[in-house]
């Protein structure tokens, strides 16, 4: 199978919208406003934190907010000097969206949090653990959510059995990103 024909390409997965399990997207937006646009999206790997952050960016832009998103991970940690350079570029009318706040070193995070409180219109982060900022929402997954996403991505007329998807979900401990990567490989190898 050509990569472009694989139903589980990253661009197809990225086009999916976040699906809240026990709330609504509008409710999340309302809570974000209540928190004065300083909040954390909390959840384990592959639970939809980045997807929600990107969806919030679109929604905020539609509301007329300026946003600035950037990504931090373990290979490019945000240390103090890098943090200071970054903060000089943040405009006071911008909401900063930081994906991967866990990877920001503690001293840099303190600086970041303090500086954006006075020099930015907001700060929304994703994190594996609560406590960095007030929690906006906790992301989680279920086997049914995996089934729903897979059904949406698969070609019409095909389906994966619930047992197979349940096993896949368990093996990846609920990490939907890893589940979908495995399905990409499955299609590549056998379709």
């Amino acid at each position: 199978m050509k990569a472009r024909d694989n139903p589980f390409t990253v661009d197809r997965i990225s086009a999916l919208r976040y699906r809240p399990l026990d709330t609504t997207f509008d409710e999340i937006l309302r809570r974000l406003e209540e928190l004065n646009y300083r909040a954390a999206i909390v959840g384990p790997e592959g639970s939809g934190k980045t997807t929600l952050l990107e969806n919030l960016q679109d929604a905020l832009a539609q509301q007329g907010f300026k946003t600035w998103m950037f990504f931090v991970n373990d290979t490019v940690p945000l240390n103090g000097p890098a943090c200071r350079r970054l903060l000089t570029e943040v405009a006071s009318d911008e909401i900063v969206l930081l994906d991967g706040a866990d990877a920001v070193r503690r001293s840099a995070w303190m600086l970041f949090r303090r500086r954006t409180a006075s020099h930015a219109a907001g700060l929304i982060v994703t994190s594996h653990r609560p406590g960095l900022l007030p929690t906006l929402t906790k992301c989680s997954t279920t086997p049914a959510l995996l089934q729903e996403i897979v059904n949406e991505l698969q070609p019409p007329g095909r389906t994966l059995s619930a047992d197979f998807l349940s096993d896949l979900y368990q093996r990846h401990a609920g990490n939907l990103r890893d589940c979908l990567r495995e399905l990409y490989d499955l299609y590549t190898a056998h379709a």
Binding site: M1, K2, A3, R4, N6, T9, V10, D11, S14, P156, G157, R158, T159, L160, S161, F164, R181, Y184, D185, L186, Y187, T188, A189, H190, A191
Partner: protein
């Protein structure tokens, strides 16, 4: 209904590097857009993050609610259109209107042979645990079923 379209000259969809893509764009919209953006791009699609190259962009300001324009865009030397199991590189011409979400896109092939370059068939069959036990069907056939 809003409509954008891209017509390729003689409906040609395969081009050699450095060849010129000719055609026409047409639009028929309910409101006057501020801009129309015509782009020649390539992008990747596959298991990894999408990469995009914008080769040429032309913006038409205040184009009116309907109209058409001919275009002639020279292609660069590459990259060629190709597909492997992990990544494909796809060329396309896009027309978008702003504001709005209406978009038209035509894929083209850029290759010296006139068809997409196919990379080696690096089969991964047998690398998955559910490949064990042959019941006369491939693993995917066993896992996939018809949806009623």
């Amino acid at each position: 209904m809003d409509k954008l379209s891209i017509d390729l000259h003689e409906d040609k969809t395969a081009y050699a590097p450095r060849e010129t893509v000719r055609g026409a764009i047409r639009w028929n919209l309910q409101t006057n857009p501020e801009h129309l953006k015509f782009s020649l791009i390539w992008y990747t699609s596959g298991k990894g993050t999408r990469d995009v190259g914008v080769v040429q962009t032309v913006t038409f300001d205040n184009p009116g609610s309907f109209g058409s324009r001919d275009f002639a865009v020279p292609l660069p030397d590459g990259p060629y259109s190709f597909s492997g199991k992990l990544v494909s590189l796809i060329w396309a011409i896009e027309l978008t209107c702003m504001p709005g979400s209406e978009t038209a896109r035509r894929e083209i092939v850029v290759s010296p042979t006139g068809s997409e370059v196919l990379l080696g068939d690096a089969s991964m069959q047998g690398s998955h645990p559910w490949n064990e036990g042959n019941r006369g069907h491939s693993p995917l056939e066993r896992i996939l079923g018809a949806r009623r």
